[in-house]
């Protein structure tokens, strides 16, 4: 499904965190949002997955105004991998993933063979099928993150929202998670920190700083040496990797490391 934001503003406790942002995610697009900490990435995503209400602007989801879609309906279509995965109660991994079936259930419906099938398939996709019966609270941060992705997959969504989904993951699972999302071929909007990964997977990037959109375009258009200095106040080299065809960004240390000098640090 596609998603369009028109002049979205989000105000939290009288402070305007998001200032008139418009962006669009087409069907099958994997769109990344990058930018420094506190730039408003999570807040913008929260407005998209309906935890925060925009104070201004419209969100169109699948051609319909989000305001007119019930939470129940949007949950059937939009899966979310957020940063809110502390659970104080003992659920097994299977129970956690099955909760992804919630939007498809009515009051009297029990979990069917089909639900288990979907949940198990999702667990296999994230490589956690061996953990069905483990307690969610006993998993490591990265394992939890993969279970949350499995739960979102069990929703069988037409759109995914991911807020720094690669947090806590080792490099293999960072690549695996983003590959899974990409392979679904559905629309996806993700806040990402790792510029190399963003360049590798995203079809389009938006740069958010101080609640404003300061750039957008394909990774090659957005991720230039100058712009990265603008956004993050750091220096780097941007090269095109011949083997993979992906951008490769190498950062310069802020302070000179031993035996190596930065040209600007002099």
């Amino acid at each position: 499904m596609d998603l369009t934001l028109q002049n979205i503003e989000v105000t939290v406790e009288k402070k305007k965190i998001i200032k008139s942002i418009s962006l669009s995610v087409g069907k099958g697009d994997f769109v990344g949002i990058i930018g420094p900490n506190g730039g408003g990435k999570s807040t913008l995503l929260k407005a998209v997955y309906r935890v925060l209400k925009p104070s201004n602007g419209t969100i169109m989801f699948g051609g319909e105004n989000m305001q007119n879609i019930s939470l129940h309906t949007s949950a059937k279509q939009m899966g979310v991998v957020g940063q809110f995965n502390t659970v104080n109660f003992d659920f097994t991994v299977m129970e956690m993933v099955l909760m992804g079936r919630m939007p498809h259930k009515k009051v009297f419906n029990a979990d069917t063979q089909e639900d288990y099938k979907i949940a198990l398939q999702a667990l296999i996709q994230v490589g956690m099928q061996e953990a069905v019966n483990r307690q969610f609270v006993t998993l490591s941060g990265g394992e939890k993150q993969r279970i949350i992705l499995a739960r979102a997959l069990a929703q069988q969504p037409q759109f995914l929202v991911l807020d720094e989904p690669t947090n806590h993951l080792d490099i293999k699972y960072q690549l695996q998670l983003l590959s899974i999302v990409k392979s679904l071929g559905i629309g996806a909007l993700a806040a990402l920190h790792d510029l190399n990964l963003a360049a590798m997977y995203c079809t389009k990037l938006y740069v958010l700083k101080n609640g404003c959109l300061i750039a957008s375009g394909t990774p090659r258009e957005v991720l230039t040496k100058e712009r990265i200095r603008d956004i993050y106040e750091i220096d780097c080299d941007v090269n095109l990797d011949e083997q993979t065809g992906a951008l490769s960004i190498v950062y310069h240390p802020l302070l000179p490391l031993h035996g190596m000098r930065c040209k600007d640090a002099g």
Partner: protein, 359 residues
């Protein structure tokens, strides 16, 4: 190990399901047995055969030969309603505790967390102290206690809703504030009334007692607990999602603010009703949900039926103890539930296999 190729309901899940039905069956039998055993126990010795003869007489009209009417009255007018009240109240409090824990996503939540106990106490104390031992304005202590409970809940909701969004943390804190405030008001009343007899009945009331249970006082709590039980059993899946926190619940399609408000109003009404009819007993609503969770897991579809049954059984036996421990009369049941509940809670806390309150 699970075979990932079979792609159906995993074996472990089926095993768990079977285990749940076995546990559920045992508990149901246990509840029936508890009622039938508890009715034979009491300070007046009555032959077991006579007890059942009386019960059968009342239910299906078997003749009552050679049994004194006094005994029949003890069994049918005193013990039976009291035992059923214990079952209803135990089930109700345990259920309210479970729902509260889910609503505020806090394993330490219990039915009284929103200041209900302090509100009910204030109402009751108000009635006892200012209305003499009888009534105030034509209403009994029960009505005043109930009004106090509701007043406290409304105050907590209002306080938590001030300054924007109502968060669970704010609710818990508001509950603490209101408890302190109402507690102070209650103590103030006790202090200025300076009424020794009233103080004794206040003390008895705040420690809880089922001694006042009659068939007609049993009716309202039974209806309330039954309706709420059906409602929450049907909402088990939503309660599960509530435990995941606000954001996750919203992304799974649950309007958490509305849902939580409904649950809290229902639990407040129910707890208010229970407290008003039998006073306050702690630990039932806190310990029973955890105890059952440690056996059947956190999934409310299994937890809720378990909690209802175990809560009922627990309070029946706590009440039996309160009836037979002292020769001179009833021991307040609140003392017993706390005496059993506190150590049991400690044991749950320190058991390593049960992850209790997260990290």
């Amino acid at each position: 190990m699970m075979q990932s190729s079979t792609m159906g309901i995993p074996k472990e899940v089926l095993k768990k399901e079977r285990r749940f039905w076995v546990i559920g069956g045992c508990l149901t039998v246990g509840l029936a047995a508890s009622i039938l055993l508890a009715v034979c126990l009491g300070s007046v010795k009555i032959e077991v055969a006579a007890v059942y003869q009386i019960i059968l007489h009342k239910i299906i009209g078997l003749p009552l030969d050679g049994i004194s009417m006094a005994h029949a009255d003890i069994i049918w007018q005193l013990r039976m309603p009291r035992i059923l009240m214990a079952a209803v109240v135990g089930a109700g409090l345990a259920m309210c505790g479970t729902v509260m824990q889910a609503s505020v996503q806090n394993p330490l939540a219990e039915p009284y967390i929103l200041g209900i106990a302090s509100g009910a106490s204030l109402g009751a104390i108000f009635a006892i102290m200012l209305g003499g031992s009888k009534v105030l304005l034509g209403f009994g202590i029960t009505v005043w206690a109930f009004a106090g409970a509701i007043l406290a809940t409304i105050a907590v909701m209002f306080l938590a809703g001030m300054g924007g969004q109502m968060s669970t943390m704010k609710m818990v804190l508001a509950g603490a504030v209101i408890s302190a405030l109402f507690g102070a008001a209650a103590n103030f009343l006790i202090y200025i009334a300076n009424n020794a007899e009233g103080m004794r009945s206040v003390a008895f009331w705040t420690m809880g007692s089922l001694a006042g249970a009659k068939w007609d006082t049993l009716l309202l709590p039974s209806i309330g607990v039954s309706i709420a039980a059906i409602f929450f059993l049907l909402r088990s899946r939503r309660l599960n999602v509530l435990l995941l926190g606000e954001e996750a619940a919203i992304t799974l399609g649950i309007n958490i603010v509305r849902e939580r408000r409904i649950y809290m109003i229902i639990t407040a009404l129910l707890t208010g009703m229970i407290v008003a009819s039998c006073g306050i007993f702690g630990f039932v609503g806190l310990v029973i949900p955890h105890a059952v969770r440690s056996i059947v897991g956190a999934d409310h579809r299994r937890l809720m039926p378990g909690v209802l049954l175990v809560g009922a059984i627990f309070l029946i036996w706590a009440d039996v103890l309160s009836r037979i421990l002292l020769r001179s009369g009833d021991l307040p049941i609140g003392i017993i539930t706390a005496l059993i509940g506190a150590p049991f809670f400690m044991w749950l806390l320190f058991r390593r296999s049960f992850n209790f309150g997260g990290n």
